[in-house]
Amino acid sequence: MNHDPFHWGRPSQGTYGDYNYNIAHASNVDKSNKSNSEFPKMHTQQPMITGTSVIAIKYNDGIVMAADNMGSYGSLLKLDDLQRIIPVGSNSVVGISGDISDFQYLERLLDDLEVEDSYDMENENLKANHLSEYLTRVMYNRRSKMNPLWNAIIVAGFDDNDELVLKHVDLLGVAYSSPTLATGFGNHLAIPLLRQKVETEDDAAKLTKEEAIKTIKDCMKVLFYRDARSWDKYSLCVIEKSTKSIKIEKDVKVEGMKWDFAQHITGYGIPQQ
């Protein structure tokens, strides 16, 4: 047998001509300015190294948000010490899931924005509501070029009136707000648990900070149990309105796990003795 894939079941050369090797070599590098470009420019069609869920919940005096430290390459644990919750200025944090290279690009954009905003200014003017608007525009702009930044973002912080902002922005430039938010798998696994605690803004007004932190920690545990692309080390961000503080606790470990059920699971891989 001929092991060259190019010879497997190709339509006859006589009818369709030679195979266009450009198809196999297509890249996202823009070659349109060169004369030998026979194949269109290709954009990101899937993320490569990815970060999984970011989750957030509102409570009576702020927001708690968490995201684990993992960067997966397919099912491989490629990075285990990745900070996916980053502060922007002193009024906001963003938690980013999805493609890590696009995350790093956004990180750079946000850094530039912070620098740009501090020119000529006595006080800081970049608030969380401005930031979420900006990110929405960036994401929508890129999706309109058919070249999206492959991320889902949660923005949290304070607006111009020091009120809380909690917003979700995705790779299509869609933005929405809710007292509980999650990206990726968190939308399936964490949102139902978060909504048991907080369904509406009124529920959020009753939830204490301690309960909120516990709820988020429980969700991170469930996510680690069931989301095979998650990690048990995560960052926990607590925003407090009364003190106007934003604290990010790093390297928090998932606690109180029980794995003894695992020995009864059979049918995957090599049978355990």
């Binding site: 020119y119 000529d120 200014m121 006595e122 006080n123 003017n125 608030k127 509501n129 401005h130 608007e133 900006y134 525009r137 111009d160």
Partner: protein, 280 residues
């Protein structure tokens, strides 16, 4: 033709550290009719004297709205002011579009200051021949800035630019401690009184030649022209220059009354740093 060897372009210093083309551009502001601005804690008022080229012609627009929260008054070359105001409008729109926030005043004035400064440091160009009073209300309160072709931008509690603006400045200097707590009506009255002081002897403020604008807390930038300024002109007891009645004016020495006579404009501007003999 040239007055000296150092005014052929805007990029050459004279040995005394001056850039003549910039100073000439600042002279151009004084060719334009006067504009006055002043600030209270909550409001900014701009007033200006419009000119018509001839009796049957229309009046030159002196106040341009940039956004709901800011606008400019100009003195000097109006076409140059249009370039700057269009640029400011773009900046204001982009701030709304990208960040969903109104453009802050300091960002706005610094953006045009940078544009103007480039013209003083690149060959082949000329500085803008216009001065602006930029008024607006943002997160940090009410602001009035003066913009000059040199690219310098300074914040004022009261400012006047244009022909005979020194007279308005004198009035503002006498009254400025009453501005912060003034109501918007008082503020407009102060502004119009200052503007009245810049009038030539046989002129008076009319609904046709006066333009008033106000912006502030819970008050979008509003321009009053023609019949709409009447309500504000009624605040004044007299519409003619009170200074011209008790003439024999003080030291009416300098540049504030010499419209159109170019020989006169060529004497060194007052701010000349201990000028050595600059005439060749």
């Amino acid at each position: 033709m040239f007055r000296n060897n150092y005014d052929n372009d805007a990029t050459t210093f004279s040995p005394t550290g001056r850039i003549f083309q910039i100073e000439y551009a600042i002279e151009a502001i004084k060719q334009g009719s006067a504009a006055v601005g002043l600030v209270s804690k909550t409001h900014v008022v701009l007033v200006a004297l419009k000119r018509n080229a001839e009796e049957l012609g229309s009046y030159q627009k002196k106040i341009i709205k940039v956004d709901n929260h800011m606008g400019i008054a100009l003195a000097g070359l109006a076409p140059d002011a249009r370039i700057l105001s269009n640029y400011l409008r773009q900046q204001a729109m982009s701030s709304k579009m990208v960040f969903n926030r109104p453009l802050s005043l300091s960002k706005a004035v610094h953006s045009i200051a940078d544009k103007a400064q480039e013209n003083t440091q690149s060959a082949g160009g000329r500085p803008y021949g216009v001065g602006l009073l930029v008024a607006g209300f943002d997160d940090s309160g009410a602001h009035l800035y003066e913009f000059l072709p040199s690219g310098s931008v300074l914040e004022y509690v009261g400012a006047a630019i244009g022909a005979r603006s020194q007279a308005a400045k004198t009035f503002l200097e006498r009254k400025f401690d009453e501005f912060p707590n003034a109501t918007k009506e008082q503020l407009i009255e102060f502004a119009l009184t200052a503007l009245r002081d810049t009038l030539a002897q046989d002129k008076e403020l009319t609904t046709a030649n006066t333009t008033v604008a106000i912006v502030g807390k819970d008050q979008d930038f509003t321009v009053y022209d023609d019949d709409n300024v009447e309500q504000w002109l009624n605040l004044l007891d007299s519409l003619t220059n009170t200074r011209s009645t008790n003439i024999k004016d003080e030291e009416d020495d300098d540049d504030d009354d010499d419209e159109g006579d170019n020989e006169n404009a060529e004497e060194a501007p007052a701010a000349a740093p201990e000028s050595m003999d600059i005439d060749p």
